[in-house]
């Protein structure tokens, strides 16, 4: 398997606190990678560093060999990495399908003149967008909600919509920040199935998760963080038995 | 429940609005023909008081004429009615008001007392079928120089005071002036006119720090800047109230010299605020009440105004009162109340030009028929030993 994303010695300090400390890892394409760790371990900061919303102090991020360190979020997205947020971020007052149209924007190029003159390109791209939206609605099982404002959806549907918005831009890698956070147990399975489907469709997944049981079944590769330092990585079994992970989790992992 | 409240409130509000809107129209009495006169003036905001002084002058004249039975032209008797519209000194608004006067009210004589709103109206008052005569109350010299064929200008142009003010000032040994007049086009025009005359007479301008008199409340920063150059006299002025503040604050900072006060500020109003002591050495336009020294009718007029409005009269009121009286005479001379060209020409006719300070509170010697400027003398004054010492009336048209 080839390496899709490589992170080298990534470091971020906030004042005196080192939120992410010299973290290295690689994500191979077509895999599901999970990042685990207790609260405050620096997981979300790591996502923010990769996604470009904050700049690293040191280190390097490369996507397919291309250095994307310090790129702005929109460039990173266009480069092929999209993400969801821990507190589900959506275009809340807009209908579900408009959320998806926006998510697809980076695959279209119509600008001001296309809009004003309704050029062939605008027409073509509108058609293309509609097709993509229908497809993703079906893929994520959101078709029934298409016309509802995103903010009025049930919690679990909002989580799926956030994933759909990230997916419709056809990324190479999606970063999912706690996709099942705040979702009931029965509904969690639906999202796990969705993540599996995403991988099956050829998109690499990296996920931050607390629910260990779910991770054990889902992930191919696990990276464990604590106090901003990578304490272990490897396949689920080996990480789970790592003493420092057990210590950090007080044995929670055994389950 | 909630919806009901909304509906009730909206309806109530609408009715309130309409109710107020319909208040504006009052009926005439039909015994004689009523001629409407328009007033385009600031009646709200910072300059509302100024607009009301103008309004008062016109109203007094109208009431007096109407009480005497109006004016007679041929067999018809005409009485007057004043329609006021607030322009807030915004030219765009003044233009809209003028159009409304002409088109909706059928008015063809419009009074306007602010220099910046007169200019734009000069662009529309000669349009065929919509002509109107501008009664311009402004001392800006360029308006008194025949700028418009359908315009009458009233107070003397401010430039006429300059020779005497400079003489009074330099006569006191004051050669160095610091300039702190109001900003904006009017202040700048005053400033540049003054500066030219002052340096022309051999004086020196040592510092300049004009301030926006409409929005500034604290002039100390400007004053210390100007006073740092040790001027003998300060050139100041804008509306009266802030001008008083400037004088007060200047004295507070230890300034002992004199003031040259532009004509917009009224020395009597300033004296009310600062007291005469602070005003020592101030040079400006003679307070209106002292006009009685030259024009006997002023005494009665002052009393009449005070009885009616409970305040001291202003030049604006006195001049607009006189101006309206002259206008009515011009209408009689023209034998018309709506032919604006004839009325404009009527100002130059016999009966109109002989009225004087014996009959009206302000002296008047006819009109400069070329330019449309009414020939009213200006009088300057200087405060010496706590008294306004009047100069001779300046008959500027003879110079």
């Amino acid at each position: 398997m080839t390496t899709l994303l490589a992170v080298e010695a990534l470091t971020k300090r906030f004042g005196g606190l080192v939120a992410v400390n010299k973290v290295d890892f690689e994500i191979s394409s077509g895999s599901i990678t999970a990042i685990i760790g207790p609260n405050g371990a620096g997981k979300t900061t790591l996502f923010n560093l990769i996604g470009g919303s904050i700049r690293p102090d040191e280190g390097k991020v490369t996507l397919e060999g291309r250095d994307i360190t310090g790129w702005k979020p929109f460039s990173v997205a266009r480069g092929g990495i999209t993400r969801t947020f821990q507190t589900t971020a959506l275009f809340e007052e807009l209908p579900v399908w408009v959320n998806l149209v926006i998510g697809h924007r980076m695959r279209t190029r119509s600008g001001l003149f296309d809009a004003l003159l309704y050029t062939p390109r605008a027409r073509r791209e509108k058609k293309e967008t509609t097709r993509e939206v229908m497809e993703v609605l079906g893929f994520t099982g959101l078709a029934e909600y298409a016309d509802m404002p995103a903010g009025t959806l049930p919690q679990e549907a909002q989580k799926r919509l956030a994933i759909a918005v990230a997916l419709i831009g056809k990324p190479k890698l999606v970063l999912l920040d706690e996709p099942t956070g705040g979702v009931g147990l029965e509904e969690t399975d639906g999202i796990i199935t969705l993540i599996d489907k995403i991988r099956a469709s050829g998109v690499t997944v990296c996920v931050i998760e607390h629910k260990m049981r779910m991770i054990m079944n889902l992930a191919d590769y696990i990276i464990a963080l604590n106090f901003g330092i990578k304490i272990a990585d490897g396949d689920p079994q080996s990480v789970c038995q790592d003493p420092s992970v057990i210590e950090a989790y007080l044995g929670e992992c055994i389950a | 429940m909630r919806l009901k409240t909304i509906i009730v409130l909206t309806v109530a509000l609408l009715m309130l609005t309409l109710g107020f809107a319909s208040c504006g129209d009052g009926g005439g009495d039909g015994e004689s023909v009523v001629v409407k006169i328009g007033l385009n003036a600031p009646l709200s905001g910072v300059a509302a008081g100024y607009g009301q002084d103008i309004q008062a002058g016109i109203e007094m004249a109208i009431n007096e004429i109407n009480d005497d039975g109006g004016i007679k032209i041929g067999d018809t008797t005409y009485t007057f009615e004043l329609k006021s519209s607030d322009d807030g000194m915004v030219p765009e608004q003044a233009l809209a008001n003028a159009n409304q006067f002409v088109l909706e009210e059928g008015i063809n004589i419009i009074w306007d007392p602010t220099a910046n709103t007169i200019g734009p109206q000069m662009g529309i008052n000669t349009k065929a079928g919509e002509e109107f005569l501008i009664m311009a109350y402004t001392s800006v010299p360029l308006y008194a120089q025949g700028a418009n064929p359908l315009m009458i200008t009233m107070p003397p142009p401010f430039s006429i005071y300059l020779p005497e003010w400079i003489k009074l000032s330099m006569g006191s040994g004051w050669m160095k002036v610091g300039m702190l007049q109001t900003t904006g086009a009017y202040g700048e025009l005053w400033g540049s006119t003054f500066e030219k005359a002052w340096t022309g007479a051999g004086g020196e301008v040592v510092a300049k720090a004009p301030a926006d008199y409409y929005t500034t409340t604290d002039y100390t920063a400007n004053l210390t800047t100007v006073l740092a150059a040790n001027p003998d006299v300060l050139f100041i002025g804008g509306p009266s109230d802030p001008t008083a503040l400037v004088i007060e604050q200047a004295r507070g900072l230890g300034f002992k010299g004199g003031f040259i006060v532009i004509d917009q500020a009224k020395l009597d109003d300033i004296a009310d605020i600062t007291g005469m002591e602070a005003l020592e050495g101030a040079i400006g336009v003679l307070p209106v009440e002292n006009g009685a020294d030259f024009w006997p009718a002023m005494t009665d007029f002052t009393k009449m105004y005070e009885d009616e409005y409970g305040e001291r009269v202003t030049w604006e009121t006195a001049i607009c009162y006189t101006g309206f009286m002259i206008l009515s005479k011009a209408m009689e001379a023209a034998q018309s109340v709506d032919d604006v060209e004839a009325i404009r020409a009527g100002f130059a006719d016999g009966d109109v030009s002989v009225t004087s300070g014996d009959v009206y509170p302000v002296g008047f010697e006819g009109i400069d028929d070329e330019t449309g400027a009414l020939l009213m003398p200006g009088t300057s004054t200087m405060v010496v030993d706590g008294v306004f010492v009047p100069g001779e009336p300046i008959e500027w048209w003879k110079l």
């Binding site: 971020a89 279209t108 | 409304q100 529309i124």
Partner: protein, 322 residues
């Protein structure tokens, strides 16, 4: 079928609006009403421009009064001092305003929310002070005269010119907000961080929206100069920025009808209650407070909500009946 009905309605509306001057032009007071309507439509174009940047893109610009003035003066100076024909002058004036808007947007759009509002307000104050004090530019006391060709002498002629531009402005705005580009604008209004995360360059998009918005308000400024025939520095006053904001929010932001309804309605109301003097501002102030409390989405937004509510109610009773 439904779609055609909608277009037929709009067409009918345009025909009615186009017929108004034929009726009004017969009397002098009617001519004044034509003039008021023309001015209201010019302000409506300006409000539409603000709608693009504030209503759809979510950036509260308080500099539109300044840009209106800049457009108006650019037009006036081109026509009067340079001597260009009015139509190219109108386009040039709009382009200059758009260009200046872009220059202002470059630093100011780095800020967000209230910060952006205040930066633009500062810019407006600066422009106002410059026009007030630089009399060579503003024309001083007499202002800047703008001479119109004789075929625009009649009020109804200018009415049709302005009406044409108003329809054009609505169409332009409609084309933009219904397009994919428009979805980028709306995305930024809704959630700027998420927009960035899905690959939208928010700074460039905002800058584009602001520039187009300034083009439109520059156009409104040019038309303003055309209608008034003279200009002075007060046209750059930041009070006009506030007025545009009021027109927009009372009418209904992020709708196409809202800016037009709000502007024409309030402008007309203010003109009609002029007779009651200063107290009109008291009434106006009360109306603002009451409307914004009870119709937080403006008149058109409120009407839309009411319509949705009524439709739901109707359908529900319909179901019960079945």
């Amino acid at each position: 079928m439904k779609k055609y009905g909608k277009w037929a309605f709009y067409l009918l509306l345009i025909v009615i609006v186009a017929l108004i001057p034929l009726y009004l032009n017969r009397s002098k007071s009617g001519k004044y009403t034509i003039q008021v309507l023309t001015m209201a439509m010019i302000w409506a174009i300006a409000t539409l421009s603000l709608n693009l940047i504030l209503g759809y893109t979510g950036q509260a610009s308080l500099a539109h009064g300044a840009f209106l003035g800049i457009g108006a003066y650019a037009f006036g100076i081109f026509v009067e001092r340079v001597g260009i024909n009015i139509w190219p002058a109108l386009i040039l004036a709009s382009l200059i305003t758009a260009f200046l808007g872009m220059l202002v947007g470059l630093p100011s759009l780095r800020t967000k929310g209230p910060y952006f509002a205040i930066v633009t307000l500062c810019f407006n104050v600066i422009v106002f002070k410059v026009f007030e004090n630089w009399t060579w530019l503003s024309g001083g006391l007499r202002g800047q005269k703008v001479t119109m060709p004789s075929y625009l002498e009649a009020r109804w002629a200018r009415y049709y010119v302005v009406l044409g531009f108003l329809i054009l402005a609505i169409l332009i705005e409609r084309q933009i907000v219904k397009s994919l580009l428009g979805s980028s604008f709306i995305a930024i209004r809704s959630n700027e961080n998420l927009s960035e995360a899905v690959g939208i360059n928010s700074f460039r998009t905002k800058l584009l929206s602001f520039t187009v918005s300034c083009f439109m308000v520059g156009l409104a400024g040019g038309l303003f100069a055309m209608e008034k025939g003279s200009l002075d520095y007060t046209i750059t006053n930041y009070m006009y920025s506030f007025y545009l904001l009021i027109y927009l929010l009372i009418g209904g932001a992020a709708t196409l009808a809202g800016p037009v309804v709000g502007t024409v309605g309030l402008y007309f109301l203010l003109d009609k209650i002029k007779g009651i003097g200063e107290w009109r501002y008291f009434i106006f102030g009360l109306i603002l407070i009451v409307v914004i409390i009870y119709f937080p989405r403006g008149i058109v937004g409120g009407a839309k909500q009411f319509w949705e509510w009524a439709k739901k109610k109707y359908y529900r009773t319909g179901e019960v009946l079945e």
